[in-house]
Symmetry: D2
Subunit: 349 residues, 4 copies
């Protein structure tokens, strides 16, 4: 095992970190050598993640950047916001690539960061060195990057649904509406409170962050603007639905021209995207079809009565929306097969 | 109890019929005298509905229109499609008002019926005599009606969300998008199949009827056009979510003018609507807040970045979306208090 | 409304208190005049319980015993443990009967209280004045009582399942095993933490309090011993299941004699118990059949291969297991019809 | 890939067959070469299992035994009951080992088969040649076997919970009670009907097969009797719980002697069982800890008040209870590492 890449997970006891551990344990090219957790430091990983007992025999440690440098060839940051701004520079200086699952380096415009995250960005010099890790849009840049900002879950589902239409200049850029429903794991493991209490979430659907106030708005707009080559503003409504994993995004836009064969358009656009599944005409995705996997399923149709296109995407928010995409980014950055460790079928039913 | 209205439920073993039984059993002005079910004929009602044991001591019978006329003063039709077209004329001729929970008499244009329901309407003479039973739009007509077409669940949630905006001519009528998520009971009790198998529905969200093919589209458009005074076309996407009861509708439209105080606008519009709850600014509904009740909760906000209004409504699809609204219609038609039998708080959590 | 009983709910924002509000709002003999909540004091009740908007127009207040005495004829205590030990004496001295939903006065032996609740009982003089409010066992005492200790949820389901067998001396008292699965609302609204986080509870079943360490053990044994006329020790295993409401209890015991017609035995034993439904032979309960109601459904069978009887009961933990039973106790204590306000059919599906 | 074992799945579109496909696709020693389905014959596997799109590019075929012989080195039978009785002899005669997921060859006594399955066994000569595939009890026999009867889901969870206690002669063999709760996928994909309709299963727990009438009773007793060396009769109550995957079994027995250190006893008994996780004292399993994996988690405690031991086991009914165990059996029978293809961490949360 000496020639495997030694990787560390900072924040292994959160849902994103735990999912990294699950997936990396089965990855053919890496060895998991360092896992940190403030809550579980000193305890076996199975105390934090009962479903790894007898499979991953590691002990959680407190995060220490020097230890990470010594023990790892690459580090995933999956802990609280701000970790990457604080520690990525030292890790990268020591030759250790960083894949950051937080929002620290997602937004290219520091003013946007300040506006949406209500604080000044603390490592502005590094923003330009970071690559937004959505491989379906930025594959070549990711291959060359040592600091990868892993996208948010909603932005992944939204960008994949709309990019081909914007690239083909088929839709009115001012007409885009994105309606998303997420499972509760998207809120993370450290948020307790009534909003995530089983009795209050179960059997209920509710919106939140209505009318352009969710922090994923600028991130979605950044990706869509990149593809469109012009600024794109969207209306985005996230909802909380009583499932653990999964995001279903239903996106709407007015067509500017004849849509033609949309399935062909999408298949061509995603010809080099191993994790995007374009469904046949008349087929639509369900979140369960992607559960536990890094795949994004996309279906679409044109409402000919209103000349509007509807594109629907499904992902597992913890995999393609977080840990799986982070590993896909590692694969690209490290020269592994893009799909290494990520080809599992969905856990179904 | 001799001065109570004697009512019958045709199709009591379906979810709509069962809900009528639950609610009518607690209604102060009626006596339930006749319940029919093809599947459970000859068996106690508790065989079909285990949760009425010791509370409703009736036996299911096969439906017979003469028996209904003899035993009832008013009849709810909650069985299969077509019952009302076949039997409402005889019931009404015998002086028995009919409240029909099917789609038989919802559409005013028989061509629309033929187009969306794929068959000729069989009682076209009666279409004009039927009243579309959405009390918040048609209260006076309902009071005078003997044949009430109870609205569909999605159309109720959509019309209540958008009517005040159209009435005030605040939104672009071509910009309306309605995104709805429904619980599984909306599919009814007689649809088996994998689409409703617990293992395949659970933990999954999926769209269906995408791009203007759901039969509720013309019904929603009919209500919105009535309010707008002009034809309205919509884009509507229904989704199946893993809850038993509830519809959350998120409606989008472009503002034509300054929205002003939307809460005030909605509160004024619904001043005489006892079952509509307009939430304070910044508050949004959850389906669970309406569970088991006839109330519709509505919240709204303007996305100032895109000048779009988002209105979100929640109902229980089996109550305000079916049986409760039917009873509200009965109350109006029979001169009872509009809220009689329907003032319960939500079952929560 | 002047001749209605004025009642107060202390702790209205918890799940038990909220359920009291829901049920009392529809009770024909009472008027809800005082609701208290530490968290929501000063806010409308609908801030704590969104599903009462437009139905119950009360404001939450901070609890004050003098105000309770002034405003109420009877007080339900549904707040934290210890409230009844502290305040019931004053309320009763002022002529205000108390129905306490906590465990303060359930155990007749203060040594048991100290052992299981890890603190000395602070109102030992009042233990004998309190009546254990399980109407199916203690109806006459409840009618005469001014301090009623409302039973726990598991103890209700277990005692109702086993009482007829012990009363008839049919089972080996040393062989009783009680295996119960509860919905998450049983944990109450104030317990946050990962144990009740949707993502960790959902799709999971787990035991807790295994091997005689749950505080409901002595309460169950007290009821069963009362019926048996001799001490009864049990093995009890509670489990947390991913539903919001409901307890299913599966009880096992070795038969000492020919069981005969068990359905007849149970029906006779519960002849005066309006809320107990004995299912026909071969029929078994489901928690959903009792949802939102005060009814307990019971089914049973003999395993002739092992000469063991299995009795299975289902209740809604928040109704028959808490608020509904409290109202049943009020009805008895105040001379109302035992079923007043409690005859609703289950919310189903 | 030429030196991989070529394997076929008969009945790939059921839940057991689909799970075999999911797991075998990631197995390092096999190649999936033949998948059959009556329902989906002629269609891509992703039509039956949407979550394999772009991962498993096979077409479903109608089952034909000669084709299976030509295309496979080993065959999993996961279709309807009776397939193995009919086809296993020909497959084995052709040198193709068979792993049967049905109950055809589980019971060693043909009279038991006739009694519990209500029909004569049609291949009685082969019963003795079949090996009951519970590796933790029969590992050496499985290694030498060409016809493996894969255990039922409940029997796996029950036998693993109780075997160490019976082997150590610690419990009264007449006192065993097994109370199990299963997810709905255990009912299979071909059973439609209201019993598995989302709206009726959701939010409900219910027993079935009460009092020794479930077909898994003789299978459990056969395993326990084998370990005990004497006949063991049990009381077994299965329940349906609203989860998709998972079985939680809570087993009770009276201790005959001092239990000593139960964790040590279990750990010793399962020293060579890579998929059994014995939890530390005071820890208990949850079904979610095993989701998607072949692991069985076991916790236990002694109720010193009643001198009874309670052992609780959790498995994923589709993995350790079906497809995963079948692959474990293949691994043993074919000389692969016992854990090959089966070391994944649980999908959690």
């Amino acid at each position: 095992m000496t020639d495997r890449l030694r990787v560390g997970i900072v924040g292994v006891s959160g849902y994103g970190g735990g999912e990294l551990a699950r997936l990396l344990a089965g990855h053919p090219n890496v060895e998991l050598t360092y896992v940190t957790s403030g809550t579980y430091a000193g305890k076996p990983l199975s105390a934090a993640l009962p479903g790894v007992a007898k499979r991953i025999n590691l002990t959680c440690e407190k995060f220490d950047v020097q230890t990470a440098i010594e023990r790892c060839d690459l580090v995933f940051l999956a802990g609280e916001a701000g970790l990457a701004m604080e520690h990525a520079p030292a890790l990268i200086a020591a030759g250790k690539p960083v894949i950051d699952l937080s929002a620290d380096f997602r937004l290219k415009n520091p003013a946007h960061y300040a506006q949406w995250y209500k604080s000044e960005h603390k490592a502005q010099d590094w923003i330009d060195k970071a690559t937004y890790g959505l491989p379906e849009l930025n594959k070549e840049a990711i291959k060359a990057s040592k600091l990868i900002a892993n996208p948010g879950c909603y932005p992944t589902s939204a960008a994949l649904a709309l990019a081909p239409l914007l690239a083909a200049d088929l839709i009115d850029r001012k007409s885009i509406i994105i309606d998303s429903h997420s499972g509760v794991s998207g809120a993370g493991r450290s948020k307790f409170g009534l909003d995530f209490h089983f009795s209050e979430v179960n059997e209920s659907i509710k919106p939140y962050g209505v009318a352009g106030v969710h922090r994923h708005v600028p991130e979605i707009e950044q990706s869509l603007s990149q593809v469109a080559g012009e600024p794109v503003l969207i209306t985005f409504t996230p909802h909380l639905s009583p499932i653990t994993r999964g995001i279903l995004t239903t996106a709407y836009a007015n067509l500017k021209a004849d849509a033609g064969d949309l399935q062909a358009l999408f298949n061509t656009y995603y010809a080099d995207a191993p994790f995007v599944v374009i469904l046949d005409a008349g087929q639509f995705p369900a979140t369960k079809h992607t559960e536990g996997t890094n795949y994004c399923h996309i279906g679409m149709a044109v409402d000919t009565r209103t000349n509007r296109v509807i594109v629907i995407s499904a992902i597992d928010n913890l995999v393609k929306g977080a840990a799986g995409q982070a590993i896909q980014n590692m694969n690209l950055s490290c020269g592994f097969d893009e799909t290494a460790g990520l080809t599992m079928a969905a856990v179904w039913p």
